[in-house]
């Protein structure tokens, strides 16, 4: 055929256009659909979407198989492969099922902007509260005031020293007398005042009409129970040890309680609270009255 280059180009162009027109009513080839440039108006069909669905199902199966060995369950080793596999799944669905690959780039930008913002927010939160957690806790724990239900004179119970009036937590001698100022209800013993105040016992323990904590064992009738917990210990000795060395013996269902309490929890939560010997004695004296 003797055609000049101009004509050839025009014909090629026509052919190309015709091909595109034709392809628009068919589907794109598999490799072109997933990896190549697809002209506008060309879409996938059962072949492409079915293949992708099988691919995604296989990834899900692999993810499951990764955590089948018990040694890998909850281990840090599997985090990276699992995250990578789910990111692949994520973007396959976005690019092909949501056909973002074939869309106006503005849609990509909008979605990626939202996704990036979401990631930044999530990462910031996890960093703030995960990595930098110890600092605010060390500050707030000695200052925490337990929440109380069913207090008759609500205003009196709520009144407590403003943060400015609180002494620095590091000085144990100043700590003890700080809370009683506002928190003392009329007629309460020094031990009870400590219990609901600076010693913060009330945030975890329950005493009818005094405190409603749930993390530690209830202390109603503790004076009677304490005498029988450890053989050879008097009630007074048992209670003192439970305050000073909470992990020496952890009460549980064996003692007739409704649940087992967690070893190490009290020493961990009480880490910022310092009690003087007098404080301990006052608490022991108060708890011994709970028969």
């Amino acid at each position: 055929m003797s055609t000049n280059p101009g004509q050839e180009a025009a014909m090629a162009h026509d052919e190309h256009a015709a091909h595109e027109e034709h392809a628009a009513h068919e589907d794109a080839g598999i490799s072109r659909f997933f990896f190549g440039h697809v002209p506008e108006g060309v879409h996938g069909g059962l072949k492409q979407y079915g293949l992708l669905a099988i691919f995604l199902a296989i990834i899900t199966l692999i993810e499951f198989l990764i955590i089948v060995p018990e040694g890998l369950q909850g281990s840090g080793v599997v985090i990276a492969p699992l995250v990578i596999l789910s990111v692949i799944k994520f973007f396959c669905v976005v690019a092909f099922f949501m056909h973002l690959k074939f869309e106006h780039e503005l849609l990509w930008q909008i979605f990626v902007a939202g996704l990036a913002l979401g990631l930044v927010v999530a990462l910031s939160l996890v960093l703030l509260f995960g990595v930098f957690r110890p600092t605010p806790r060390a500050f707030s724990e000695p200052r925490q005031v337990p929440f109380e239900h069913h207090v008759e004179d609500h205003h009196e119970a709520v009144a407590r020293p403003l943060p400015d009036e609180l002494p620095p937590p590091a000085d144990p001698a100043d700590l003890a007398p700080a809370a009683p100022a506002g928190a003392t209800a009329a007629g309460a013993s020094p031990g009870q005042t400590l219990f609901v105040g600076t010693a913060a016992c009330a945030s975890c323990h329950t005493i009818q009409g005094v405190a409603q904590g749930v993390l530690g064992p209830p202390l109603d009738g503790i004076a009677s129970a304490a005498a029988n917990r450890i053989s050879g210990y008097s009630a007074e000795e048992y209670i003192r040890e439970s305050i000073v060395e909470p992990d020496a013996y952890t009460a549980g269902t064996a003692d007739g309680l409704s649940q087992d309490y967690q070893q190490g929890l009290m020493s961990a939560t009480m880490a910022g609270i310092v009690l003087s010997d007098e404080d301990v004695e006052a608490l022991v004296e108060y708890l011994l009255q709970l028969r």
């Binding site: 628009a24 506008e40 108006g41 879409h43 996938g44 069909g45 059962l46 979407y49 079915g50 992708l52 669905a53 995604l56 199902a57 899900t60 199966l61 993810e63 499951f64 990764i66 955590i67 369950q73 909850g74 281990s75 840090g76 599997v78 985090i79 699992l82 995250v83 596999l85 789910s86 799944k89 994520f90 669905v93 976005v94 099922f97 949501m98 869309e103 106006h104 503005l106 849609l107 909008i110 979605f111 902007a113 939202g114 996704l115 913002l117 979401g118 990631l119 927010v121 999530a122 910031s124 939160l125 996890v126 509260f129 995960g130 990595v131 749930v214 993390l215 967690q262 190490g264 929890l265």
Partner: protein, 229 residues
């Protein structure tokens, strides 16, 4: 896409969708993508909240006592297949094949409902086992996140049922390709959110215990802080 719509729409396609826009993107479609972008933030925050409180519950049941990974793998597979059915429905709508469209829509609806059935079963099992919304940090953050996801799926099911009914009543070009396409975007988005939830809450976080058992996480973070400092 507006251009593609005009080219390939069925003959009875209502002209309302052929509007010209400054971006060249149909306004409803643009709106859906903007919504999905913002929904990333919504779920991002809920997922972050779960991760922040992960491994810090001091009373049980803990995830390792109660999370059932094999069953959830099955429900994840079901949701993934519903996405496949949905995309086939969109393809059928594009080709103007109303009969196929209705079939794929109903298959999507059934698969989505099976997924919700798994979730109802799981939530109820947790409740019976003593994991209520207020039990611990794990239950509160878990139920909030997966509950909102379940609500999204449920809304999607209602949406698709509406489309299927409209399609059955109006064989000629209703719902339009765009109607189905936009519902499909929403449906697939719900699927990708679940991909993230499944990985983080089940495959990675499903074996968490009380704080000392969450040691791997603590070590991980110590490693990260070690890098930073």
């Amino acid at each position: 896409m507006a251009h593609a719509d005009t080219t390939h729409a069925p003959p009875a396609h209502p002209p309302a969708h052929e509007e010209e826009t400054t971006t060249g993107i149909n306004h409803r479609k643009l709106l859906m993508w903007v919504f999905l972008g913002s929904d990333c933030l919504f779920f991002g925050s809920l997922i972050a909240t779960y991760m922040v409180y992960r491994g810090q519950s001091i009373v049980g049941p803990y995830p390792r006592d109660i999370i059932d990974v094999p069953i959830t793998t099955v429900s994840t597979f079901v949701l993934l297949m519903s996405s496949f059915a949905m995309v086939m429905g969109v393809a059928a709508a594009r080709n103007g094949n109303q009969k196929r469209l209705i079939q794929w829509l109903w298959l999507t609806i059934v698969l989505g409902s099976i997924f919700i059935g798994f979730q109802v079963y799981e939530f109820n099992l947790f409740r019976v086992e003593g994991l209520r919304y207020e039990t611990n940090l794990f239950s509160s953050t878990f139920f909030t996140l997966t509950g909102f996801h379940g609500a999204h799926v449920t809304l999607g099911i209602f949406w698709l049922i509406c489309l299927a009914i409209v399609a059955a009543r109006n064989p000629a070009g209703r719902p339009s390709h765009l109607d189905v396409d936009i519902a499909g975007l929403y449906w697939h988005f719900v699927d990708i959110v679940w991909i993230v939830i499944f990985t983080l809450l089940y495959l990675i976080g499903g074996f968490d215990g009380p704080p000392e058992a969450g040691h791997a996480a603590v070590q991980g973070w110590n490693w990260v802080t070690g890098l930073i400092s």
